[in-house]
Symmetry: C2
Subunit: 214 residues, 2 copies
């Protein structure tokens, strides 16, 4: 029975790898659309987000069947429930990338990000993508450094987010609409990074059995 | 065994009622703090949010024990997993109310909401509170109208949220910082309402067995 459970858990991880990889692409395309007014990229993000609901339902059903078909012991249950948390976080990450893409479409062809802010936004996008990529890799293979790297990357996003408020509150010359757009976009990146870190902790737990920090 | 499960599920619902009632108070205090620069109210919101992590862990443990101590059938599992979704949403709602309170503390004694926006913000707070209250009541007693009422209230919050962008983008005279604060505050109310609706759907499912809309 334990062998069967381990095999099912592997299948679950396989599904989550594909989903995490898609969510990683989404934030890359969202940043691309944001920095280059790229409507094709924005469209790809929205298409991926539309598919996520079905993916999440599928993973939840997989976990449910996994639990129904055996007498669960506490450890197995915790692993399966970690999978639920991960797919919930991945779905939110996909939706947040889509929120960014939607602002690009709404303002097109006007650039959303003023020139002097582009490097900071690009950096935020890179670190968010790196976080999602760390989650994807950690699902595929035991990565003992994943947790530490995620903490570091999450701190970078928080710092970039804070710096942005500094710019908005002291040197801003682009009007209220651009400020509102940028406020929301930074919030979306920050939440994306947060969900990636949460998912990453659960993944480390699924792979190593090491409890996520409470 | 089914009777034991039903009893445990009742206990779980009891825990969720207390938690949902606390989250309802949080948004009321957050709105109070926002409209009256009330630091005591803000402090109550933050104290409640700090307690939520322990509450969530407790509910998750309760659900885990509930699943471990019986051979679960699919229906029971779905009910228990709905409880997990609900407590996750309630935790986020508490955190979002706290985000509002934290902005009040940051700007104190300066009012965060300009006078002409106060009625709209007050209305948003009332509807968000009403949504959380609907979730609380639906947990306590079978409420056949809960789902329809939540849809209506969620639409009201979305409309108020959209109207606010209209004000920000056309008639705004209060500078960038106030616009950024208000953008985030409206986003927090909107997310709070969204999580309430999600939780409400799961509660209706827990109570009636009627599947939440996908």
């Amino acid at each position: 029975m334990r062998a069967w459970f381990a095999k099912q858990l592997d299948e679950l991880r396989g599904q989550l790898v594909v989903t995490a990889a898609s969510v990683t692409s989404s934030i890359r395309w969202a940043t691309q659309s944001l920095l280059h007014q790229d409507l094709d990229a924005a469209q790809q993000v929205s298409a991926a987000a539309a598919e996520m609901k079905a993916t999440k339902a599928h993973v939840e059903e997989l976990i449910l069947q996994l639990l129904v078909r055996q007498q669960p012991v506490a450890t197995d249950l915790r692993l399966a429930l970690a999978g639920l948390h991960v797919v919930g976080d991945l779905e939110r990450m996909s939706a947040l990338a889509d929120h960014i893409a939607k602002i690009v479409v709404l303002r097109h062809p006007v650039p959303v990000v003023p020139a002097e802010i582009r490097p900071a936004v690009q950096r935020m996008g890179e670190v968010a993508e790196e976080l999602a990529w760390t989650v994807t890799r950690a699902l595929e293979t035991d990565d003992p450094d994943a947790a530490a790297r995620m903490e570091r990357d999450d701190d970078i996003v928080d710092t970039l987010h804070r710096d942005m408020f500094g710019v908005l509150f002291s040197e801003w010359t682009h009007g209220v609409q651009a400020a509102v757009d940028l406020t929301l976009i930074c919030r979306y990146y920050e939440r994306y990074a947060d969900h990636a870190v949460n998912a990453g902790h659960q993944v480390v737990f699924m792979v190593t059995g090491e409890a996520p920090p409470s």
